[in-house]
Symmetry: C2
Subunit: 121 residues, 2 copies
């Protein structure tokens, strides 16, 4: 599961949403770093629906425009929990190892030194 898919599930974890709302919600969740394109969104929704992680909640007509609300299924809820824990472990591992490194003396100059530090167990 990649980031767009993960964030779609995350967005749906709070409440059912329709496609366009998901685009905005995911942008917010990612701090603006990820702009969901229609091709990504609807492709993901189809895939997730096939996999049973998401299902069509209801269909409304708002101002003459059809709105399809998608909902996280129990299966999707479980998958999101599993994936979240996987990611959490990765993030923790990376954080731990980055902390051992001499975190960049800042400055625009790269200052030659490889500065790799010795073998830590």
């Amino acid at each position: 599961m990649r980031e767009p898919t993960f964030l779609i599930l995350t967005a749906l974890a709070r409440a059912p949403m329709h496609g366009y709302g998901l685009i905005q919600e995911v942008a917010e969740l990612s701090g603006g770093t990820l702009e969901l394109r229609p091709g990504t969104l609807y492709g993901a929704l189809d895939r997730l629906t096939d996999d049973g992680l998401v299902s069509l909640d209801r269909q409304e007509i708002v101002d003459g425009r059809a709105r399809k609300y998608y909902r996280l299924t129990d299966h999707g809820d479980a998958a999101l929990r599993v994936e979240t824990e996987r990611l959490r472990r990765s993030v923790e591992a990376a954080t731990r190892r980055l902390a051992l490194r001499p975190a960049f003396p800042a400055g625009p100059s790269v200052t030659g030194g490889p500065a790799i530090a010795g073998g830590v167990a």
Copy 2:
């Protein structure tokens, strides 16, 4: 950046490693859930080298077998930090929203609280 790539950079954050060592290290980092295949590994190393995130540290001959050690560059260090924070934000968002859901009433009752909690931002 996807998970295999992320974990390769994470593995290299501690110390330079050679390909085969990375396969084992990434398996350990992921708790055995991700087994890096040679195609994934060497493809990623080539790509990361082209992008300047990783570079060839040294080449040793151990027991007659060539070993190429790869090293995280400053650029790679920075990229890993950025990516780690991105992931951390995603994980926190998902955790927060999952905590709001009635975490599976399920049968055998999980005793009292969801107990997921943690510091919500």
